[in-house]
Symmetry: C2
Subunit: 168 residues, 2 copies
Amino acid sequence: MAEFSTDTRIRRLVRADRETVRQILEATGSFTAEERGIALELIDEWIERGEASGYITSVIEESSEQVRGYICYGPTPLTDGTFDLYWIAVDSTAQGKGYGQQLLRRAEADVRQRGGRLLLIETSSQESYGSTIRFYERAGYELVARIPGYYRPGDDKLVFAKSLADVG
Amino acid sequence: MAEFSTDTRIRRLVRADRETVRQILEATGSFTAEERGIALELIDEWIERGEASGYITSVIEESSEQVRGYICYGPTPLTDGTFDLYWIAVDSTAQGKGYGQQLLRRAEADVRQRGGRLLLIETSSQESYGSTIRFYERAGYELVARIPGYYRPGDDKLVFAKSLADVG
């Protein structure tokens, strides 16, 4: 973490973090109530069942021990070595500090260690104009598929992918 | 159903059908043990929770009341009007009778009635060579996305889609 000016720590999410993450999801304004509900369901699965849930969930906290963001990912069922990034969010007051990229890089390292070779991110074309696309491109992701009208008419599903094989 | 020579009936799956469908899934030889396990999990959700499960499951039976195939589909979470076809299987002894197409058309009609406008089918490029691709193309589906190496290196995910809007 020495490469960032603010000291941070990434660790697994525990039950005590749930309310903070719920607030972060709400404050970003990027998610609908339904989306936040599903994000919290995955978190609850992780809290209850740990790795068996299939949803590995970590938070990033500043030296103050204030949690500022989280990431949720896991092995894609029925695949050999593919993982999905299910959710990532950073507190609106802590944007621009590279916390999202830190969370993502740590997740990629963890996926590699688990034998993962491909990490996928599904997102909406409506959400993805601008900053979200740039975020993933900066992290080395490539747009590999688009499903027209997936979310609603005019709102496509975009699938970004990064190959983790043969990368340091 | 008058358009087929064998009289058939399509109805919702009930608990008593579970073992027959389990045998059909096994006998086709098209599914791994893991895939069959997931197919049965969805069926169990449907049996336990009905429509609330999100997995609408129907069987096709011949006039002998012998169940010969099944289909499982449901609304795609976080979308407005998109549905996924999760599973379809026809008994290996009853192939070539059009049962798969019957199940699919009935599912499409049901999806339309529920306000669905898009039906998606995800499949493996390895499985899909030949008969599976032809099955979906004959039913009016179009290949809209391919995710390279999704299932394993060299085995891509294919996404077929059919627009159900403005269709009789």
